[in-house]
């Protein structure tokens, strides 16, 4: 019976894909995927391949990270201000097993992500009693503890001190291959996260977010599902964290555990629009390239005034976050997309 259903699904898949491809979102996604596929081959210029292209790789890593935050906070309603915990822990575990135990990179990535899941459990359980702003502060406090432990000079023999671990191998010496490895993992991660948010599990998460008491009353074991949400989210945050470690070929406390990373996840997901998941990807690309552009612009002169734009990048990010939260609670990018969708529908005569 199940087998037949599966067969039917597989047989229908090309048709399903075709009809999905002609919808607005489907078409847009396919367009984005095509663009992302051809981008590595557009130029042989060294700067293009070694500086510009890696920005896309970085953006995709952060897209996974921001999507994992959106799954926990947007979909399940558990506000995390300490997502850097999972990102950092996974990066460190991955680096440790490669550098100190000589494990193959792929095994280290798996171990790193599972380590993050373990931390999801470790932090999810005590945080169960906390709600709203308390949870935000609890997770923030946990991440600050970890940051300070890893920075601690007297514990450097356990946590490697402020220098961290360096000399990790890249995913590949060829930036294009590295790009495609991350690309594939990003696509898989997004499909899985989106499917989870649409599945029965996702519905349960949303019901806990919207009305925890109600969910509890209707027989849902909210405790269990909140921990599950923490663990799934931690897994993807961890996966992104291991990629980030390998991307930099090094880990250090502020770079991997810093509050700034949690801030990034919040920033990217909010800009794209909470609970959309795909918005997280849009936000990630937006911010990574905004940062890149600001650094590229560098110093500008207006009359006598000399401004180093790259110094202003985080101030600008913070300002964008303030504006988005204050004026556009659904994010900026989603409403734009919806307007485009209306236009599309008009053009298609629907």
């Amino acid at each position: 019976m199940v087998k037949e259903k599966m067969k039917e699904k597989i047989n229908n898949f090309p048709g399903y894909l075709k009809s999905w491809g002609t919808t607005f979102i489907g078409g847009l996604t396919i367009l984005c995927l095509i663009i992302l596929t051809v981008i590595p081959f557009l130029s042989n210029d060294l700067k293009y391949v070694y500086v510009f292209l890696p920005q896309f790789t970085l953006a995709m890593i952060f897209a996974i990270f921001a999507a994992s935050w959106d799954l926990l906070t947007g979909i399940s309603g558990q506000i995390s201000f300490g997502h850097a915990i999972f990102f950092g822990v996974a990066g460190y575990i991955c680096a440790y097993f490669i550098d100190y135990q000589g494990f193959p990179t792929w095994v280290a990535i798996v171990l790193g992500s599972l380590g993050a899941v373990f931390f999801g459990l470790l932090i999810g359980i005590p945080c169960l009693r906390l709600k709203g702003p308390y949870l935000a502060l609890g997770t923030l406090a946990f991440s600050l503890i970890l940051l300070k432990l890893f920075l601690q000079g007297s514990l450097a023999h356990i946590f490697f001190g402020s220098e961290g671990i360096s000399g990790l191998p890249s995913l590949s010496d060829d930036p294009i291959i590295e790009y495609f490895i991350i690309f594939i993992f990003t696509i898989i991660s997004f499909i899985v996260i989106i499917q989870i948010s649409k599945s029965k599990l996702g519905t349960i998460f949303k019901s806990i977010r919207d009305d925890e008491t109600g969910a509890d009353a209707s027989g849902i074991n909210t405790t269990k599902y909140k921990v599950i949400a923490f663990m799934i989210s931690a897994f993807f945050a961890g996966l992104a964290g291991t990629f980030y470690a390998l991307y930099n070929t090094a880990v250090n406390p502020t770079g991997n555990f810093g509050t700034l990373n949690s801030f990034f996840a919040i920033l990217m997901a909010s800009l794209g629009g909470l609970t959309t998941i795909t918005g997280a990807a849009l936000g990630a690309f937006f911010f990574i390239f905004l940062e890149y552009i600001l650094i590229e612009i560098g110093v500008i002169e207006i009359g006598n005034l000399i401004i180093d734009v790259s110094l202003w990048k985080f101030a600008i990010f913070a300002l964008i976050l303030i504006i988005v939260v204050r004026f556009a609670e659904r994010g900026i990018l989603r409403p734009i997309l919806e307007h485009l969708k209306d236009l599309w529908d008009v053009l298609m005569g629907r």
Partner: protein, 293 residues
């Protein structure tokens, strides 16, 4: 040993004096409006840097500059409420996100102007020099700070319990809807509360930082976690609890940094560990009172 004990007691008292000023405002804002203001530490930090920036604009009259800076930061607190917090005050997530954004913005703004190098603003000391006893030297500014803090806290307590505004603040914190039925403009009260809170943080910075140092734009987070530790220890919104909590955190921090090997680097962890323990064991605080008294 004697010197260490005196050092522990003195440092702990100084910590308590400064933490109580900062945490009082933080607690007040949470108690009255359920507003978790993550930019509170940034107000403290900003005051320090404005002391640094202002002398180049004004003739160097320390007390005048300090007064202007405190007024300025108080106004910023008010504007933050009107422009950013008020429209979102019914959603706890929105408030947390927007004050987080504000804190980050202030921090990065300071970073752009002054970088991460430590600075001194010692010309703003009210009393210079040290008082010596055989085994220990007390920094005079800190002695002044201890007494000033006690006086400010007492005046504040009197203000909250006796004045008309103080009574309306307590009324809003106990029952916002009933307060509005009395003809109290609750949003106005919240505005004043935020301004008072920024004012107290700013005063604390003016009293403390001239004898310490400006340790970079991110130092506000440390004071935010401190305030949070204090407030969660004493109970959110309990003013008595905040003052008691401030001195407890002050002495524990001081004890850690003096008597524990490698102490100063562990002392930073004390407030965070207190937060985590309290959140897990007794989120309502030792005094366990939601209401403001």
């Amino acid at each position: 040993m004697e010197a260490e004990i005196i050092n522990f007691l003195f440092n702990g008292t100084v910590n308590g004096a400064i933490f109580s000023l900062i945490a009082l405002g933080y607690s007040l804002v949470y108690g009255v409006g359920h507003i978790m203001n993550l930019a509170h530490g940034a107000f403290f930090m900003l005051t320090g840097y404005m002391l640094l920036w202002f002398p180049s604009f004004l003739p160097e009259i320390p007390w005048l500059i300090a007064t202007i800076v405190v007024i300025f930061v108080t106004i910023i607190g008010g504007l933050a409420y009107i422009i950013l917090i008020k429209p979102l005050q019914d959603t706890s997530v929105g408030v947390v996100l927007i004050t987080f954004g504000l804190a980050f913005f202030i921090q990065e703004y300071v970073f752009v102007l002054s970088g991460t190098t430590p600075y001194s603003v010692k010309e703003f000391k009210i009393i210079d020099g040290v008082t010596k006893i055989p085994s220990f030297s007390f920094i005079n500014q800190f002695i002044f700070l201890i007494f000033a803090s006690l006086i400010i806290v007492s005046v504040f307590a009197l203000f909250i319990s006796k004045s008309k505004l103080g009574k309306s603040i307590r009324a809003v914190s106990q029952d916002r809807e009933a307060a509005s039925l009395m003809g109290i403009n609750t949003n106005r009260v919240l505005l004043y509360t935020l301004m008072i809170s920024a004012f107290l943080a700013s005063i604390a910075a003016v009293l403390y930082l001239p004898a310490a140092a400006l340790n970079g734009p991110s130092m506000g987070w440390g004071y935010l976690t401190n305030s949070f530790a204090v407030v969660i220890l004493g109970g959110m919104g309990s003013l008595v609890g905040s003052v008691v909590g401030a001195y407890i955190v002050g002495y524990v921090t001081s004890f850690t940094s003096i008597f524990i090997p490698n102490g100063p680097s562990w002392a930073h962890l004390v407030p965070i560990i207190i937060i985590v323990i309290m959140l897990l064991i007794r989120p309502q605080g030792i005094f366990g009172k939601k209401e403001l008294r």
